[in-house]
């Protein structure tokens, strides 16, 4: 008797796959399988947890940053005053910097939200925290009284001078017209070293806080925090977010997402994030609707790995 290959179609027709099975059966105990599964997986989880544990590298505070890398801290605070840090020019949802958003052709999804999480870098990261001190630095009044142009000229000049100084050390900066920028960033460094900046930046004077947006943006504008991540193989070019500190597997299921950042045309694209996310959305849609896609849905018949799964059935036909 000839055997007709069954359809690969998702449609419910009159074929064997569409009808309730009327052939031979085997005894099966659903509840027993579930209980055995829970016990076996539970033992496996307990065993692996006891052997490998889980990583818990302490978080980095602004105090730790200011203590370990004061020159980087001062240079970053100066960029915040000058408005030249990464986050100051980020665009939505933090600020309205023109042409900063990532677009795909004419589509600008990043700007759709507008500035929903407003961050005024110089004021939020430097000036406002200094104003909370019991004795704010006298230069604070000079800064607030100055024009925007004067402020950015001072901060930009100091930023350039810091970059040119030996070891970027604020104490070795050449003389120049930096206005109150050195005094303000120096006072902020002291405040951070004493540990008070962490609290002020996070809670903005409130008792409760669960929003770390400002602290994280400030931390990320420096090179100390990204440097720590790079030393733990966590940078974007080291497969970024799918990794975790230590030797635990991390989010290995994000491999394709991380992979795209490592290859062209994504790797060098200015809008890499937007391209990668949209590509992943398209690939996810393809996987979701795979049964409807001719060619892809026929692969299981062309590459018959199913014969391994059902080898007993096929042997006894």
């Amino acid at each position: 008797m000839t055997r007709k290959s069954s359809s690969i179609s998702w449609r419910k027709t009159d074929d064997l796959a569409s009808r309730p099975w009327t052939g031979s059966v085997r005894e099966y105990d659903l509840i027993k399988e579930l209980i055995i599964g829970v016990v076996v997986v539970g033992l496996l989880v307990l065993g692996v947890s006891a052997i490998f544990g889980s990583p818990d590298e302490p978080s980095v505070s602004l105090k730790a940053w200011a203590t370990a890398a004061p020159a980087d801290f001062v240079a970053t605070a100066t960029k915040e005053l000058a408005g030249t840090s990464d986050s100051a020019g980020y665009g939505p949802p933090y600020n309205p910097t023109p042409d900063a958003s990532q677009k795909i052709g004419p589509v600008d999804l990043q700007s759709l939200s507008g500035v929903r999480l407003p961050v005024d870098n110089g004021n939020d990261f430097v000036i406002a925290p200094l104003a909370t001190l019991p004795s704010p630095p006298a230069d604070l009044a000079l800064w607030t009284a100055a024009t925007d142009q004067q402020r950015s000229d001072w901060a930009a000049a100091y930023s350039i001078a810091l970059a040119a100084a030996p070891d970027n050390d604020p104490a070795k900066v050449a003389d120049g017209d930096y206005g109150p920028a050195p005094a303000l960033t120096g006072a902020l460094l002291d405040m951070a070293r004493q540990g008070s900046l962490d609290g002020v930046l996070q809670n903005g004077g409130n008792f409760y806080n669960t929003d770390y947006t400002r602290s994280l943006l400030f931390l990320g504008d420096g090179s100390y925090f990204p440097g720590l991540a790079a030393s733990q193989h966590l940078s974007g070019d080291q497969w970024g977010v799918m990794n975790e500190t230590g030797d635990t597997p991390g989010q290995s299921w994000l491999w394709l997402f991380s992979l795209l950042y490592q290859v062209e045309p994504f790797k060098s694209a200015a809008n890499a994030d937007a391209l990668v996310v949209v590509t992943m959305l398209v690939l996810t849609a393809l996987l979701t609707f795979l049964p409807f896609i001719p060619g892809l849905r026929s692969l299981p018949r062309k590459i018959p790995l199913h014969r391994l799964v059902w080898k007993d059935y096929y042997r006894n036909r």
Partner: protein
């Protein structure tokens, strides 16, 4: 209320006579998923391979994720940093997630090569992929909630992808309060709902038969519905158990 709608005590209501919304819903549910399909005591003889354990492995892992997650959640996000018991519970949460994904990915690949969407099972496939996708988001928010260096860095890196497509303004990875709502309520509910729907669909449609199964197969020829107990079925049961 009409007289015939009130069943007499001890006499089951006539299921063909349901006329209320509730009665019709019950009728539809019982037709789609009668108790012996929901909790079966037998399966087709082809359901006899290691390939079939991974779905159940994923469900078992999910139960351990929920149990360990409840313990972690009730003790607050700082507990596991300072308690050795907390650290161990955190490890079980992590590793049950790792196992969950391993089981789920193997299950997904196997169901692809088995073309398990055949014969009206496409929604089972779609809910399976959806549970995988929602689980990825749930796990991601878990990594962000660790309140340690990893969560700091993952939040810093991931904000760019979310902001680039306009999501970051509402799904702010640096806002731990928001992440709590996502990770311990919304996303577990979503994963649970999709997984329950997926499992119910598997029970409704049954397990897809082998790709090359045909009417002429011995497993079907020797076991027609009218033959209640063929030698084939007895042999098959004995071979499995």
């Amino acid at each position: 209320m009409s007289a015939h709608a009130t069943p007499r005590p001890g006499i089951p209501a006539d299921e063909t006579d349901a006329h209320t919304w509730t009665g019709r819903a019950r009728q539809w549910l019982l037709k789609k998923l009668p108790p012996d399909k929901l909790l079966p005591e037998d399966q087709p003889s082809y359901v006899a391979s290691w390939a079939y354990v991974f779905g159940m492995g994923a469900i078992a892992s999910l139960l351990w994720i929920i149990i360990s997650g409840i313990v972690l959640g009730l003790n607050g996000p700082q507990w596991y940093h300072v308690s050795s018991l907390g650290s161990f519970v955190n490890s079980t949460h992590l590793w049950s997630v790792e196992l969950f994904f391993i089981f789920m990915v193997v299950h997904l690949w196997l169901k692809f090569w088995m073309a398990a969407w055949r014969g009206g099972r496409v929604l089972t496939w779609i809910t399976g992929v959806l549970s995988f996708v929602v689980s990825i988001v749930a796990a991601f928010t878990g990594y962000l909630l660790q309140t340690n260096f990893d969560s700091q860095w993952i939040a810093f890196e991931a904000k760019d992808a979310l902001n680039a497509v306009g999501v970051g303004a509402w799904f702010n990875v640096a806002n731990v309060g928001q992440l709590f709502a996502w990770h311990i309520t919304l996303l577990p509910l979503a994963v649970g709902a999709v997984v329950v729907l997926h499992v119910l669909l598997v029970r409704v449609h049954g397990v897809a038969p082998p790709l090359e199964a045909a009417e002429s197969d011995a497993q079907l020829l020797h076991h027609r519905p009218e033959s209640t107990q063929s030698p084939e079925s007895t042999e098959s049961r004995d071979a499995v158990r």
